[in-house]
């Protein structure tokens, strides 16, 4: 394919966007649940073990939260793109006339 070739399926894009938004909602809920469950509770009373573990766990949960934001961005982006695609199509249709052999822009 060349960079000039474009195929648009706004419905597919919209469905994918909504799907990612749903995944993001569920994922954020799951991650917040994880945060609430254990909090800063140390798994063992040995600081040389639990200190670094809790720090790592915190970093992993932070990454989970960022991943949730990624998913949301992907979903929102796909939905916006789909809406733009539809709007552009409507504008093009409104500005086109049928010439017997095809549509022409006016």
């Amino acid at each position: 394919m060349t960079s000039e070739e474009i195929t648009i399926d706004a419905d597919g894009r919209y469905a994918a966007g909504r799907g990612f938004q749903t995944l993001a909602d569920e994922y954020v809920q799951f991650v917040e649940g994880l945060r609430g469950q254990r909090g800063d509770e140390a798994p063992l009373p040995y600081t040389e073990f639990s200190g670094p573990y809790l720090e790592l766990r915190d970093a992993l949960l932070g990454e989970c939260r960022q991943l949730g934001e990624h998913l949301r961005r992907t979903g929102d982006g796909q939905v916006v793109m789909a809406e733009r695609n539809v709007a552009t199509e409507q504008v093009n249709t409104a500005n086109a006339v049928w010439l017997g052999e095809g549509w022409a822009q006016i």
Binding site: L34, R38, A42, L44, P52, L56, L60
Partner: protein, 320 residues
């Protein structure tokens, strides 16, 4: 207190050995189960995300390629989710190892405790030996726990270094953009490489580098250091603010954070010229903006990666 030391014959001997109580391991079980759940969720996310992504598969063009790269590309969010899932699972496995270790030492210490209970009447002179043996075993247990703790530290450090690197790459590219805007697209900025810390780099690449034409990872260590340090400071500020629930989009946060970035920069660069040695509030607008750029890079490092991947997808298209 662990169940294994609760048995009456063990408990009596345990007190004779003078050992601190062995911790219960159900906390390890709870954390491990939680992480296993998170790992399984990541796996499911990768699978569901792939299915959802395919709904838009018919789309073709630069925008579709950019979304594809962002979602399933080499550094896309779904491979990231898979990588995160792996690391969560590794962490959970280490918790299980810790449980096994506590159990193994606990079993042996319990046996020594039973012996101590038995000899206290018949051969009390053996107690000091048993105490010493138990003490050494207990110290070994703590040492192994420390080793596992060090593995956790190492995993955190790898992650932290990767984040710093991501932000430092952005800071260096931003500097190149500004430099070209100011000096023109053909301007160069050669730097002589003389520092000891760059000896290995110099051997491989020579005595000079044009930093306006080099990517961050191509720079010698001494020239990476400043952006790396700024990235570290800004990420720490953002992490801390996130933990405290600060509104990261507020102007107050931006100005406070930029002020801290400036203070830390001054600590590292005491040679700074007078117009940069001022407190943040008294700096010129241009100088203040330099500090804000660092904060923004730390705040945006995930979305900046989106821009990088999008650019990568475009570059790939140009080559086809």
């Amino acid at each position: 207190m662990s169940a294994m030391t609760d048995a009456p014959d063990v408990a009596a001997g345990w007190s004779l050995l003078g050992l601190p109580p062995l911790p219960a391991t159900d906390g390890l079980d709870r954390h491990s189960a939680e992480l296993d759940g998170a790992g399984a969720y990541q796996d499911r996310l990768v699978s569901d995300g792939g299915r959802v992504h395919r709904l838009a598969d018919v789309n073709q063009g630069q925008a579709a390629d950019a979304v594809h790269a962002y979602t399933v590309g080499r550094e896309g969010i779904l491979p990231q989710a898979a990588d995160l899932g792996n690391r969560v699972t590794v962490t959970s496995s280490l918790l299980r190892v810790a449980k096994e270790v506590v159990g193994w030492f606990g079993d042996h210490l319990a046996e020594i405790a039973v012996v101590a209970g038995a000899v206290v009447v018949t051969a009390p002179e053996l107690l000091p030996r048993l105490r010493s043996m138990a003490g050494r075993l207990f110290a070994m247990l703590r040492k192994v726990m420390e080793h596992i703790g060090n593995v956790f530290k190492r995993l955190s450090a790898i992650y932290q270094k990767k984040r710093e690197n991501d932000v430092a790459v952005v800071l260096h590219r931003k500097w190149i953009e500004d430099f070209r805007l100011k000096k023109g697209p053909n301007a160069t900025r050669p730097k002589s490489i003389t520092k000891e810390v760059d000896a290995a780099w110099r051997k491989k690449h020579g005595d000079e580098i044009d930093i306006s034409r080099a990517e961050y990872h191509e720079l010698p260590p001494s020239l990476q250091a400043e952006n790396g340090a700024s990235a570290r400071v800004a990420l720490d500020i953002v992490d801390d603010a996130m933990k405290r629930g600060v509104d990261l989009k507020s102007e107050k946060f931006m100005e406070d954070a930029a002020s801290k970035v400036h203070d830390k920069w001054l600590e590292r660069n005491p040679w700074a010229p007078d117009h940069q040695k001022l407190p943040y509030g008294q700096l010129s607008a241009i100088e203040q903006e330099k500090d804000r750029v660092v904060v923004r890079a730390a705040l945006d490092h995930w979305s900046v990666r989106l821009a990088e991947r999008t650019r990568g997808a475009r570059d790939a298209l140009r080559m086809t």
